[in-house]
């Protein structure tokens, strides 16, 4: 076993026996996300590097501390990518942090979420055991899917040493179309288009403008362009738009105000919240900006079968993530105890400690 892994394992065991918390951290680019961070930092960047990558197997395995940008450039050399387009939110983002945060970017609605691409992990659990779940193959139903459980767990279940992710070829071609539409009309068109076999990769509506990104074969994009209409956006402008949206560098996200993320069924009508709004994922992800009262936001989300996250800023006193129903909360707590009985990892990061 690697010297560093032995050291980390001992550190986890020591923290567990002393009842202390460890804060698993990569580049710290997502420190803003989730509940307060607590405990001594365990810096995952000491364990970095791509362990295995075979483009024809469509799988890459990397150590937790591998810079996300490095992994992406390794893939790009072979014309492949992480199609869920994870936001980096800064230069130092790591692969481990990316999986732990569980965030997906603009193309999530067409290709799936980060969790859909997790194939396997090697972890240190809260007892200091080194464990391996899943693998490097696409299909695997041996044992419960513990590796997928790591996606979005915010470093509260285990220290991820390695992760294997499914990768895909980059789309052959892309084109972005622009439509001037009010929100209600944009939502209605997005849902109607979603039911047709069109190569829609991503969508973004804000301030009367709907941007639609087509991804696929050149011929398919030409045909879809003829069917959909709209104005073609210049390629470099389109690239910048989707990158800035993914990284929250688009002006909508730049005000410094609190940012709420509402996830709702895509066909839900315009939400009754008086605040600037941006819509992604064919209507399923809606961002609201400004100091909205938490209770009101959660009521609005819940009324349509959705949930709300205080994504950035604001008063975290009322919790960051949508409260869970009692039975689900209990199962969550027991799953946490199954992997981390002494609550070593990320204490309070997901839900307040009670």
């Amino acid at each position: 076993m690697d010297e560093l892994i032995r050291e980390w394992r001992d550190r986890v065991r020591a923290s567990a026996s002393r009842g202390e918390s460890l804060q698993l951290r990569g580049g710290g680019t997502k420190d803003f996300y989730g509940g307060p961070t607590a405990g001594e930092i365990l810096d995952s960047r000491d364990y970095a590097g791509v362990v295995a990558y075979e483009p024809t197997e469509l799988v890459i395995t990397a150590r937790c501390g591998t810079p996300l940008a490095d992994l992406q450039s390794v893939l790009a050399e072979r014309g492949q990518e992480l199609p869920f387009e994870p936001p980096a939110f800064g230069e130092g983002a790591t692969v481990g942090g990316c999986v732990a945060a569980g965030l997906s970017g603009p193309r999530r609605s067409s290709v799936g979420a980060l969790r859909d691409f997790v194939l396997g992990t090697r972890i240190i659990d809260g007892r200091g055991e080194v464990l391996r779940f899943g693998g490097q193959v696409m299909k695997n139903v041996a044992g419960y899917d513990v590796s997928r459980l790591m996606a979005g767990s915010l470093g509260t279940l285990a220290l991820m040493l390695e992760v294997s992710l499914k990768v895909l070829p980059k789309p052959v071609a892309e084109r972005t179309l622009r439509f001037e539409l009010q929100q209600a009309e944009a939502l209605s068109r997005l849902n109607a288009w979603g039911g047709r076999p069109l190569p829609i990769g991503a969508s973004f509506w804000h301030d009367g403008v709907l941007s639609l990104r087509l991804c696929g074969a050149e011929a398919a994009i030409d045909a879809a362009g003829r069917e959909l209409g709209g104005d073609v956006v210049a390629a470099d402008e389109a690239t910048a738009l989707w990158r800035d949206l993914r990284e929250h560098r688009h002006p909508f996200f730049q005000s410094g105000e609190a940012l709420w993320r509402l996830a709702v069924p895509s066909d839900v009508a315009v939400l009754p919240l008086e605040a600037p709004v941006a819509v992604e994922w064919g209507g399923a992800q809606r961002w609201f900006r400004g100091g909205l009262p938490a209770q009101r936001v959660r009521e609005v989300a819940e009324a349509v079968g959705g949930h709300a996250t205080l994504f950035r800023g604001g008063d975290k006193g009322d919790g960051v993530f949508h409260p869970l129903p009692a039975t689900i909360a209990r199962i969550n707590r027991r799953v946490k105890e199954a992997l981390d009985p002494e609550d070593v990892f990320g204490r309070g990061r997901m839900y307040p400690v009670d």
């Binding site: 483009p55 024809t56 197997e57 997906s104 999530r108 609605s109 979420a113 969790r115 859909d116 659990d125 007892r127 464990l131 779940f133 693998g135 490097q136 193959v137 696409m138 299909k139 695997n140 139903v141 041996a142 044992g143 419960y144 899917d145 513990v146 997928r148 459980l149 996606a151 980059k170 109607a192 979603g194 039911g195 047709r196 076999p197 190569p199 074969a217 011929a219 398919a220 030409d222 045909a223 996830a263 069924p265 895509s266 399923a284 992800q285 079968g305 949930h307 949508h322 869970l324 129903p325 039975t327 689900i328 199962i331 027991r334 799953v335 105890e337 199954a338 992997l339 009985p341 002494e342």
Partner: protein, 503 residues
């Protein structure tokens, strides 16, 4: 670090359920269910003694066929109170014995949960009960130009609840994903009789991804009563290439070359010569019987996209040494190409009294090695094996042919299968890609996972089902079983699972 560090007792050894009081159980169930929803006479129980893996048979104490969720809750509360094992069952088409009854338990059949509750074409979702057949969802969605993408071979019969339990795949999952990628929500009842909503129509919900845990959990965490699936727009066109190769390794390399060219085919299947010979006498698919292997390579999408992709695939396959390439000219021909592949299992049943289907997944680049090793095993065990597999994702289905009426052949077939599974693990793969562990591959789990990993699985189970009443003895082996299996490995010829009745 106190007692929370101890693995649950069920991790060590299977609980003893022999004290279950049949009369008391039947009385309680009879009080909670209408008479026609409860079976307990021996002749009524017989049809439930096995699932699609009929070499394992066990008559349960009772079978319940609830019609409502309230009845499911009542049954689970009774079983919970009386400490009775519960085995949930869908259509009974499973191939790993996941729905094999427990001798002291209840089989909870979801067969009467067979309604499509909602189909929302605008939102592209369907809410269905677990007993709805996989294909019935696509049939109901067809009028809206939509379908449910995962298509296991048994889709005409298998239920969506069973698909969730096994995380079923199919021939199109390289491009469209497995069950776990196409289900957004399940509603389930815990062993305590509590109703839980896991996932929702809104993406990426709060808390841990319990929806991922439910998929492939083989009825061991909770009993699903409702499922919301994502519907996919039906592609305007699909065309298929049938490529022949004079060498299995070349066909394997061709698969890698297609992917390396940046193409994700809608389906990518491979069959070896014994398999094509077996199906050709059954359905005349027009396969080249001189070929050592054939590939079926499908493209779907808009007509423009398909024309473009088919041409790119043709170029790659030719460069990879295909000896013959045929492209489906119309839908009838495309279906004819697929008819052979889809008939592989029935064809195996026709040329052999019995067959045993394996389900290992290995990295694609090791496929040639695996096929070579299987040829060696055919000689070692004196049995034939035909190979069909989902080449796109490395999921192999070797079909071991045997005759259970010939003394020793079942044992040899099982030993053959065990060798294949262990080689799958050794080649960096897994013992099961889409059929589940069930009872069939439970010993091989001991080769794939370490003791602390198996303990973790039991801890996860205990998070949902602390008393271990949901489908005990399946999917995750106890540590005692693994210790015994270790011994069994050295003494050949001994029958695994000697505790289970078989015919």
């Amino acid at each position: 670090m106190g007692e929370r560090n101890e693995a649950p007792a069920m991790a060590q050894r299977e609980a003893d359920f022999s004290k279950v009081d049949r009369a008391r159980l039947v009385e309680a169930l009879a009080g909670a269910l209408p008479a026609q929803c409860l079976l307990h006479a021996q002749e009524d129980l017989q049809p439930y003694e096995c699932d699609g893996l009929s070499v394992y048979r066990q008559v349960p104490m009772a079978v319940v066929l609830p019609r409502t969720e309230a009845q499911v809750v009542a049954v689970l509360r009774i079983c919970s109170e009386q400490g009775v094992p519960v085995v949930a069952r869908g259509a009974g088409t499973g191939l790993s014995g996941g729905a094999l009854p427990h001798a002291h338990g209840v089989v909870l059949s979801l067969a009467r949960f067979n309604r499509i509750l909602e189909l929302d074409a605008n939102a592209r979702i369907a809410v269905v009960q677990p007993g709805v057949r996989n294909l019935a969802i696509s049939e109901a969605a067809a009028a809206h130009g939509l379908y449910y993408a995962p298509d296991p071979s048994s889709q005409i019969a298998c239920s969506i609840g069973g698909n969730v339990a096994e995380n079923a795949g199919g021939v199109h999952c390289l491009k469209y994903g497995l069950t776990v990628h196409n289900v957004v929500r399940v509603r389930a009842v815990t062993i305590d009789g509590e109703i839980v909503e896991i996932g929702s129509r809104a993406p990426d919900g709060p808390g841990y991804d319990l929806l991922a845990l439910m998929h492939g959990s083989e009825g061991m965490l909770a009993v699903v009563t409702e499922i919301t699936v994502r519907l996919t727009p039906k592609p305007r066109l699909a065309r298929c290439i049938l490529a022949s190769f004079d060498d299995v390794a070349k066909a394997g390399d061709a698969v890698a070359a297609v992917i390396a060219a940046g193409i994700i085919p809608a389906g990518l299947e491979m069959m070896d010569q014994p398999a094509t010979a077996a199906v050709e006498q059954f359905v005349q698919a027009g396969y080249n019987l001189a070929a050592a292997a054939i590939l079926l390579c499908e493209s779907d999408g808009t007509p423009e996209e398909v024309a473009d992709e088919i041409e790119r695939m043709r170029v790659v396959l030719e460069a990879s040494g295909a000896t013959e390439i045929r492209i489906s000219g119309d839908e009838a021909e495309r279906l004819k190409f697929w008819a052979g592949r889809k008939a592989a299992f029935p064809a195996a049943g026709r040329i052999s009294p019995d067959y045993y289907c394996m389900d290992g997944t290995i990295p694609r680049k090791r496929v040639g090695e695996m096929l070579l090793a299987i040829q060696g095993m055919e000689r070692k065990y004196g049995l034939r094996c035909i190979n069909v597999f989902h080449a796109g994702d490395g999921n192999m289905h070797p079909l071991i042919l045997f005759d259970a009426n010939q003394p020793g052949e079942l044992d040899r077939a099982e030993a053959f299968g065990a060798d294949i599974l262990e080689l799958s693990v050794a080649l960096g793969g897994t013992i099961t890609g889409e059929h589940g562990v069930g009872i069939e591959k439970i010993n091989q789990m001991c080769s794939q996972f370490t003791t602390p990993e198996i303990e973790t699985f039991f801890r996860v189970k205990a998070a949902f089902d602390p008393a271990g009443l949901l489908n005990p003895g399946k999917a995750i082996p106890t540590l005692n079983r693994c210790a015994e299996y270790g011994r069994m490995r050295v003494s050949n010829g001994q029958l695994p699972h000697a505790d289970i009745e078989r015919f």
